[in-house]
């Protein structure tokens, strides 16, 4: 589904050239639950932003079903993000003046889905549709953010530290929703985290350090969320 080859992304830091991504290559299959692990500054978020079409790279290729998105112009890249991808961010990033339902509609309208009741129910937000983001708890806001993403019916869901701002109990709940979506909808999920315990939930683990992939492992039997330590 996704083939990344020799990806390079650099930043200029004064006279020095820093490699945020240094010849990164890997593949993701349809229905994978990929966890990208690494310490702060390892390049994991840069990698997520690059492969989701948010941030351009210096060289290398990112092929989705055979099409290289690094070669797309701005309009085609917008169309790619519109049809294929969705995001869940650590800080939720909900529109503060819109209700939970309207925030979810942001995703649903792109997929031309009118009835979002099922999605609201699936993330346990029934009865809270008319609340504004600040009237919801952190976990509820993240559930709105997940609902907004899945309402878009993406091929691939990118999550950047989705439990980073949550306590253990709420974080487990969010991971429960994500793994459930992955299993039930056969959704491809790519998640960046610094919590190595999440690797047990995934089908593939990509470990990064200093802009390079240090290890890729495939897990045949992902465990349930309740079975992992936090």
């Amino acid at each position: 589904m996704l083939r990344v080859k020799d990806l390079v992304k650099t930043y200029n830091n004064g006279e020095q050239r820093l490699y945020a991504l240094n010849k990164v290559s890997f593949e993701i299959d349809k229905g994978d639950f990929v966890v990208i692990l690494g310490p702060s500054g390892s390049g994991k978020s840069t990698l997520l932003n690059a492969i989701s079409g948010l941030d351009p790279v210096d060289s290398g290729s990112i092929c989705y079903d055979g099409a290289d998105i690094t070669k797309l112009d701005s309009k085609s890249l917008t169309a790619f993000r519109r049809k294929k991808t969705a995001f869940v961010f650590q800080a939720y990033y909900l529109l503060p003046t819109l209700t939970a339902e309207a925030n979810i509609r942001m995703g649903a309208d792109l997929a031309k889905i009118n009835n979002i009741d099922d999605i609201i129910e699936a993330v346990g937000l029934k009865g809270k549709e008319n609340r504004l983001p600040h009237e919801l708890s952190g976990g509820e806001q993240q559930r709105v953010s997940i609902a907004r993403a899945i309402a878009k019916s993406p091929d691939i869901l990118f999550c950047d530290e989705p439990t980073g701002a949550l306590d253990e109990e709420t974080g487990r709940q969010i991971m429960h929703y994500l793994t459930k979506l992955h299993k039930e909808k056969k959704l491809t999920v790519v998640m960046v985290t610094h919590n190595s315990n999440f690797s047990a939930l995934s089908t593939k683990v990509i470990k990064m350090n200093s802009g390079k992939i240090t290890d890729i492992s495939i897990c045949d039997n992902p465990v349930a969320v309740d079975a992992i330590a936090w």
């Binding site: 948010l54 519109r82 990033y93 529109l95 003046t97 209700t99 942001m106 995703g107 504004l132 878009k152």
Partner: protein, 377 residues
């Protein structure tokens, strides 16, 4: 923290206070000089005398007052924006022990652009006053002479600048009344007031809903856009009406200049505010695959109906205002005020060009909002 040269970049405040000062200095000086001459004996001249005094008072209140009021709102917007953009830095300073009083004190410098505007406006007003007086002095018995009044520039330049400085200080104190942590994280700004209609109805499609919420969550901004369009429409059409009834040569120029200033400056400031406060959300919409056109439609497009309502109200307003002004001279002048249809068409074309021009310019700015802003949240 705030440098004087930074505040002088507040072109909107400078232009508005400049406009308010030039109009006020001309008509206030004229009012004071005219009221100091002896009341004429002839009934006809008495009517003209009283009419000109009333017209001067009304002009100062309407043009000078409205521009001054808009300048206050623009100044407060600028302070809010400055605090929002720099609240992390200010939060750090607060955390280090700087008091709200000390931080707010630097906002006193926001009086500088007001001083620049009022000083240049008043000075230019005095320079062109002889020309203005000669256009107003139609009758020898009613000839006002420009006399120096030291107290007037002290009030209009120094006084107004000091008032704006004090206003800036207290408004900044109000905006800085947050915990240092909230300022560093920028958390409290995400809280918005719940509008009563939110709980009662099903939400609309996303773009329509966002457009609606933009209008509701920033009522001052909506008012601003409405006033800008109303001012542009009224003042421009008024200039045509003035020309049609052969009023003084200088009045149509003042009227159309005030219209341009009100329309352009206010609209630019409103659009700039919408863009600067929504950059993150524009970026998010783009990340989700919304096109630039859709982003524009949902953010800037929400104000279009208000702009048209403002424009529509401007025409009748100026018509009845001019009728009222002419009625002040009833008995001395027999002039019939007619609705200037050609003036309306020209103003309409200019309005469409100006409004859509500004929207197109800000639409381009929307297209330049980087996707990276999603990552920097």
């Amino acid at each position: 923290m705030i440098k004087a040269k930074d505040t002088l970049k507040m072109l909107g405040v400078i232009l508005l206070t400049f406009g308010a000062s030039i109009v006020s200095s001309l008509f206030l000086n004229y009012y004071l000089d005219l009221s100091s001459i002896e009341v004429p004996q002839s009934l006809e001249l008495q009517i003209i005398y009283e009419g000109q005094l009333s017209m001067s008072k009304i002009t100062v209140a309407c043009a000078g007052g409205v521009l001054g009021l808009i300048a206050v709102i623009v100044l407060l917007f600028s302070i809010k924006r400055y605090v929002d953009e720099n609240q992390a830095n200010m939060g750090i300073l607060k955390a280090m022990g700087y008091s709200e009083k000390a931080l707010s004190a630097s906002f006193l410098k926001f009086g500088y652009p007001v001083f620049a505007g009022t000083f240049s406006g008043y000075t230019l007003g005095i320079i062109i006053a002889p020309m203005f007086y000669s256009s107003m002095n139609e009758y020898e018995e009613l000839s006002a002479k420009l006399t120096p009044k030291l107290w007037l520039p002290i009030i209009m330049v120094a006084g107004v600048s000091i008032i704006f400085s004090i206003l800036s200080y207290y408004y900044a104190r109000l905006k800085l009344r947050k915990s240092p942590l909230d300022m560093i994280k920028g958390t409290q700004d995400r809280r918005v007031k719940r509008h009563a209609s939110l709980s009662k109805r099903k939400s609309l499609p996303f773009i329509k809903e966002l457009r609606r919420s933009m209008r509701i969550s920033h009522p001052v901004l909506s008012l601003f856009v409405g006033i800008a369009s109303w001012g542009f429409s009224a003042m421009f059409q008024m200039a045509f009406t003035m020309m049609s009834i052969a009023m003084s040569d200088i009045a149509p120029i003042i009227s159309s200049s005030v219209g341009i200033m009100m329309g352009f400056v206010t609209l630019i400031i409103a659009a700039d505010f919408v863009l600067s406060t929504n950059r993150k959300y524009i970026s998010l919409m783009k990340a989700y695959g919304y096109s630039e056109k859709e982003c524009n439609k949902s953010l800037l497009g929400g104000y279009r109906p208000i702009a048209w309502i403002g424009f529509a109200l401007g025409g009748p307003y100026q018509y009845y205002f001019m009728k009222f002004m002419v009625s002040l001279f009833a008995g001395a002048y027999d002039v019939e005020v007619k609705y200037h249809f050609q003036g309306f068409i020209i103003t309409l074309v200019l309005f469409v060009l100006c409004y859509e021009g500004v929207m197109m310019y800000y639409g381009r700015k929307v297209s330049k909002v980087s996707l990276k802003e999603t990552m920097l949240m």
